[in-house]
Symmetry: C2
Subunit: 398 residues, 2 copies
Amino acid sequence: MKEIKYGTITTPLGFRANALCCGIKKKKDLALIYSVICANAAGVFTTNRMRAACVDIDLLNLRRGRAQAIIVNSGNANCCTGQKGKKDAWRVVSALAKQLELEKEEILVASTGVIGKFLPVDKIVRSIPDLVDGLDFNKGKEAATAIMTTDTFSKQAAMEINIAGKKVQIGAMAKGAVMIRPDMATMLCFITTDANITSTALKLALKEAVDGSFNRISVDAQMSTNDSVIILANALARNPLICKQGRNLRLFTCALTFVCQKLARMIVEDAEGATKVIRILVAGARSNKEAKQAAYAVADSLLVKTMIAGANPNWGRIPAALGAAKVDFAAEKLKIALQKQVVYRNSAPGGIKREKLIKLLKKKEVEIDINLGSGKHEYSLLSCDLTCEYVRINTAYN
Amino acid sequence: MKEIKYGTITTPLGFRANALCCGIKKKKDLALIYSVICANAAGVFTTNRMRAACVDIDLLNLRRGRAQAIIVNSGNANCCTGQKGKKDAWRVVSALAKQLELEKEEILVASTGVIGKFLPVDKIVRSIPDLVDGLDFNKGKEAATAIMTTDTFSKQAAMEINIAGKKVQIGAMAKGAVMIRPDMATMLCFITTDANITSTALKLALKEAVDGSFNRISVDAQMSTNDSVIILANALARNPLICKQGRNLRLFTCALTFVCQKLARMIVEDAEGATKVIRILVAGARSNKEAKQAAYAVADSLLVKTMIAGANPNWGRIPAALGAAKVDFAAEKLKIALQKQVVYRNSAPGGIKREKLIKLLKKKEVEIDINLGSGKHEYSLLSCDLTCEYVRINTAYN
């Protein structure tokens, strides 16, 4: 298993991409991912009740577990747009299906951007012939750029594994920046692979990878309406078929998880206004659920996030957030370390010098280790600090 | 029932107060509230598991439902300080009891400020003789100032009611500013009354008043470790005894709720960095619990809070927050109004002009009305916007 540097969604065999500006924004805002043959496909989507029209279409089209193309626009989420929004999304799907000479069921669609505005569907449809014409295996990075909203860099990752002597590759791209605390999936992520894998095994692998990556990050505790992670597997690597169980599925899932974790981390690093990545590990919980609840209570505390932003040694905000988390623990057994330095143990301050703590908190990555002392379960996640820049961007973005 | 302008905790008969600087901060940081005779007393406290030592003492001392004095320090929360913290708080209580010639059980104590630092108990104990000597019915406002942390103004309210021809008064003071999303009580609030009321009736009235006021505000979704609302009732108004039921208890509860609501509103108005008060009403919910959950999901959304700060018409953030709230509703039945203008209805944007919405959002008070369309329950609360100033204060406060 090895990472492919500069790999993109067009790295695996048989995938093409393109991107252009159709006029929703003033820069590239429309991307297309295409497999030269129909692929097995799986997706994980937001659990937000106000999900966008595109999510509904994808859930429908993925029932057969097959797809050949994904079209994505940025600058407009096509969410809270009712029946008209649904028709608009279907118009995009139909136009692309016609141009590619495919069935509508073989097309997936995703949107990201402002909620509550109608999609400028004519602009998109008008651009589809050019979008298809320009499909190329060199345009992976351009597609990754076109799906960005307030992201400051494009996010890509790729891995290579060997299955029974055959080289199998996985390529992926994602966008993040804001409204990030996925529950089943996060923002937009598209993954391609030339692996020969059954649709059922693909679903299992994707679910596990997402649970271990995108479902463990939070930028601002806000679950998006358009979260989608979609994978296409076109079998062109000609490896022996990966089925429900066994070593090859484990290997594939492992590589997929690695790719997803890399992208998830990039999303946190590039979160709006963030200057630091915070890794939170909660151990000693009664259950996984409680460990997760405690971890998110700390991750999403504005006071913890601003404390980290300011390299502020006011660690008391961490136990205060934990205490309010409705999770079982006793204050006497709670142990908290910041940057591996104990700040709270045996019901009392850990005694680390204030100046030393400030110095350690100035690092770009901050680790918060918590032991609740009431069980054996643990949970880790990534979060980021909260700065004025986040506030500035979001008082203005519309 | 009428409001008393400029009323304080020393407005009701038989109450005295004092405040001074004992050296925790560079300004007044220690306050004392005293009733000339022992009073019936009740309190409502934080449900945070990491509650401060003073909360434990108050819960113990209030078991008999009687108290005569409350001592409060600002600048140090005496929380996460373990056994030493408890001993420290008891030392303060003992010293004050001795000076006032009372039993320790008749003293209540509260602290607010930084978490995780030991209380400078010698400074407090040394100041107690002066604190007691200076007790005066003119020092209510000074006490209200001494309990402030990052509050920018002191918070007081008072009411007068007539019970069977007798004038009964209620005076109160509170502090807020940050770490505000109470679950059973909020921050610090002290209430005095000369009402003649049983200890059981007093408890009932306080619980109802707090549920209708402090339990309906959120500044930053952070429940404090030291939240305390305490009331003393010394019976000096000589009204017929207010018991468990009946008209007089309803009247008293009504006045008490009014006082608490006034202070709760002041806490939101004076929240760190806030420039606007947001009133959120969720109607049409399946249950009170779901109405509350939906209201808090909107109130605590960073994206909604920054949107209001910027008079930003990006209303799609409200349905996005609701959709993630794990509350039952159908997108087709959801209705959302901002400043009484429908922005979302029948699964589609409400059609209000962008410029008009921006203009309306520039007002100092913003109303968000939500109807989930799935039941008959409702819940309202007060929140505030999120600005760079909040971030600035909390990257630095320690």
